[in-house]
């Protein structure tokens, strides 16, 4: 092994920096999943009958489904009866300002390097912080409500805007969509809800930080974003989880509904606990994210930076139903040590002159496996649909793997699909060039990797891009070289 390879290895073997548990009193229900548990969750949340019925139907669907077959993933079986399906912080303060927040909670955020403080507020970010399942703090809500924007926890939306929730829940990701979507529909605990009225350009980035906190608590977030005609919103989601030995299941659902000329930008930074160097522990991340470009010229853009989780199974997708609608997917997926990622997107072209762009950057280090799986489908009626896909893989070291699985289904011959794929090793020549100029191995790697990811970072809001860059450095620390 060359020296530079060894440095690479060394750098990628760092420990997870966000591993700790905060002592916030929790209100939990016993382990296991049954109809009673579903009823209990619904009751605890004071939900209307229709939503309970909706959950029960989802539970029935889930019970009849089979767990998917894990293509490229090497997975320990999940015991669904060994999971606690609901946990909420017991203290549920109504906060006027952050001073009133649980200091333990604030410290948690600070350790994450995501200070939920005045600075952030001054920076113009409205933060809806979710610890485990229940939304704890919401800022800027008033300012948003002046514009008619609704941005609140999912449970709150169920209470305050039941008609909207009822109309759109499951409209993009139906309960029977897949195993984990069905599970989520039955037991989802909380999440975020966002509604942008006609013609409103949301003046700030909406952001939520999710965090898995209680031991053995599966996370079943549910996010719903509805953008009316001519509206715009940029939504940021960031996640970190404390270190745990047992695998934790995360099965979220995100639904985006975009009407005529609406533009929704959804950015994720995910660094859940990936397990230790030997592949022990870590979060199982099985997420269903889908956007429906329902309206004419509507546009949905997914940007994700995935550095965490032991296992990631995630395909943010766009259904391009409206004529001339646009779907975009920009992704950086980093795997290290024993992590496994199977991620990509689905672009389903239904309307005329629809366009989609896929830029995927995979980075594999250690003994990890990183797969891109993408489907571009052009339906019969989708005249003149266009897709451009670029899938690049960067390997660090000799023991990791990168795999690309592009699936293309074209039913309308006027469609054009372009696919480019490259796989490269982090170049010894590039490393030497940088170190010859006096940069340390670590700085050199970060520089090269950041350059490689540039196209995706460019899609992230400024603030978030900096955070994402840091995260990338942390996750490759000790691995590169």
């Amino acid at each position: 092994m060359s020296d530079s390879m060894q440095t690479l290895e060394k750098h990628t073997k760092s420990e997870y920096k966000y591993g700790w548990t905060s002592d916030i009193e929790m209100d939990t229900i016993p382990k296991g999943l049954s109809e009673d548990v579903v009823r209990m969750i619904s009751a605890k949340k004071n939900e209307p009958q229709w939503l309970l019925d909706w959950r029960l139907e989802a539970f029935r669907i889930w019970s009849e489904m089979k767990e998917p077959d894990w293509a490229k993933l090497n997975i320990n079986p999940i015991d669904y009866q060994d999971i606690i399906y609901f946990a909420a912080p017991k203290k549920q303060p109504k906060l006027n300002s952050l001073d009133e927040a649980d200091p333990e909670l604030l410290r948690t955020f600070e350790r994450l390097g995501i200070p939920l403080n005045e600075q952030k507020v001054l920076a113009g970010v409205a933060v809806d912080a979710v610890i485990d399942s229940v939304s704890v703090t919401t800022t800027f809500k008033e300012k948003l409500s002046e514009l008619g924007i609704i941005f609140c926890s999912f449970s709150e939306a169920v209470q305050e805007h039941p008609e909207l929730v009822k109309e759109y829940i499951g409209s993009v990701v139906p309960r029977n969509d897949n195993y984990f979507a069905a599970l989520n529909s039955a037991v989802f605990s909380d999440g975020s809800f966002c509604y942008i009225p006609k013609g409103v350009h949301c003046p700030m980035e909406l952001s939520t930080y999710f965090r898995i906190n209680a031991a053995n608590t599966g996370q079943f977030e549910r996010t719903l974003i509805v953008a009316e005609d001519d509206s715009y919103v940029s939504y940021l989601e960031g996640c970190t989880a404390p270190m745990r030995d047992e695998n934790q299941l995360h099965a979220a659902v995100v639904e985006i509904f975009a009407k005529d000329r609406a533009f929704v930008k959804y950015s994720t930074v995910q660094n859940w606990y990936p397990g230790d160097k030997d592949g022990k522990g870590g979060v199982y991340n099985f997420v269903t994210k889908r956007g429906l470009c329902d309206g004419y010229r509507s546009r949905i853009s997914w940007t994700q930076v995935e550095t965490g989780s032991a296992i990631t199974w995630k395909y943010p997708s766009c259904v391009l139903k409206g004529n001339e609608s646009i779907g975009e997917f920009y992704s950086i997926a980093v795997t290290n040590n024993h992590q496994q990622a199977d991620t990509g997107t689905k672009m389903t072209h239904l309307g005329k002159n629809t366009k989609s762009t896929i830029i995927s950057k995979g980075i594999s280090a250690g003994r990890s496996q990183n797969s891109y799986r993408g489907l571009v489908k052009i339906a019969k009626k989708a005249e003149n649909a266009r897709n451009f896909s670029e899938c690049d893989s960067l390997l660090m070291g000799d023991r990791c793997g990168a795999h690309t699985f592009p699936y293309i289904e074209i039913e309308n011959q006027s469609g054009k699909v372009e696919h480019e794929a490259t796989t490269s090793k982090i170049g010894a020549d590039q490393m030497f060039y940088c170190t010859q100029r006096g940069l340390s191995d670590e700085d050199a790697i970060n520089l090269i990797v950041n350059g490689y990811c540039k196209e995706v970072f460019n899609e992230l809001p400024m603030e978030f891009a900096v955070e994402a860059q840091k995260l990338l450095e942390i996750s490759l620390e000790g691995s590169v070289g």
Binding site: S2, F432, Y433, C434, T435, G438, L439, L447
Partner: protein, 253 residues
């Protein structure tokens, strides 16, 4: 400043440098000429510490310390600069960002204050102006899609901002048009100083009209077979390398 004694180096078990001796004193400019494949670039890489090259014998002393003990980045921070014969492209990394990073890491190593963006811009503008380079070069990705000549100028720009103690320029003149050649030569000449040494690898005597060397060496088959003053370059231009090779062959082994 630089003392190379009986240096031997191999790549993949093939010996390329077969006992190189060379001493550069502060303020001197040395030129190395020699046929293709004779080991000129190898010498540059070995000095800079590239790990494909295994040093099998000899010593390199730089500013009184054992250079072979240092990693490439440490050597760079000690003041060794290598202008690459084939500069490497790094997509997505902006040239200005790279320059800023290398300048600040160098300043940090020297215990100097790091430059902020404004100070950096001022420095870069100044250097660009002296090198007759366009400011647009800064915005582009590092060497990515640069023309051959642009890459070489960019090497000189990096040398200018890093202010090395020893600058090794590997065929920085190759592929340059006559104006660019002058720019590179001016760049080097303006940096000549009492405490800085240059090792200039070239195939063309032409460059040495602009950068007048103190010593010219001829490297053939991994050994310096002849050294002389600037007139040696003219002689080589005139006669090629064969006469030296023959001389060498005539010498007892």
């Amino acid at each position: 400043m630089l003392k190379i004694k009986d240096l031997r180096a191999s790549v993949e078990d093939t010996e390329i440098l077969k006992g190189v001796n060379l001493e550069i004193k502060p303020g001197e400019v040395h030129a190395i000429m020699g046929p293709n494949g004779s080991g000129k670039s190898t010498l540059g890489f070995v000095l800079a510490g590239k790990d494909d090259y295994e040093v099998t014998g000899g010593t390199i002393e730089f500013k009184g310390q054992d250079l072979l003990e240092l990693d490439p980045d440490e050597r760079a921070r000690e003041g060794v600069f290598l202008g690459f014969q084939y500069p490497v492209e790094i997509p997505g990394v902006s040239n200005s960002n790279f320059l800023k990073m290398i300048v600040n890491s160098m300043r940090k190593a020297r215990g100097e204050k790091e430059l902020d963006s404004l100070e950096m811009l001022k420095l870069l503008k100044e250097k660009l102006a002296t090198l007759g380079m366009n400011i647009n070069m800064l915005k582009r990705s590092l060497n990515d899609g640069f023309s051959g000549g642009e890459k070489k100028r960019n090497e000189i720009l990096q040398m200018a901002v890093l202010e090395p103690t020893l600058a090794i320029l590997d065929e920085t003149d190759s592929g340059l048009d006559i104006d660019a050649l002058k720019v590179v030569a001016d760049g080097v000449n303006s940096m000549r100083s009492e405490d800085r040494g240059f090792l200039i690898i070239t195939h063309y005597q032409r460059l040495l009209n602009y950068i007048v060397p103190d010593v010219v060496h001829v490297l053939v088959d991994g050994k310096i077979v002849k050294s002389g003053d600037k007139n040696l370059a003219l002689e080589l231009e005139d006669k090629g390398y064969d006469w030296i090779k023959e001389n060498k062959a005539a010498q007892p082994a």
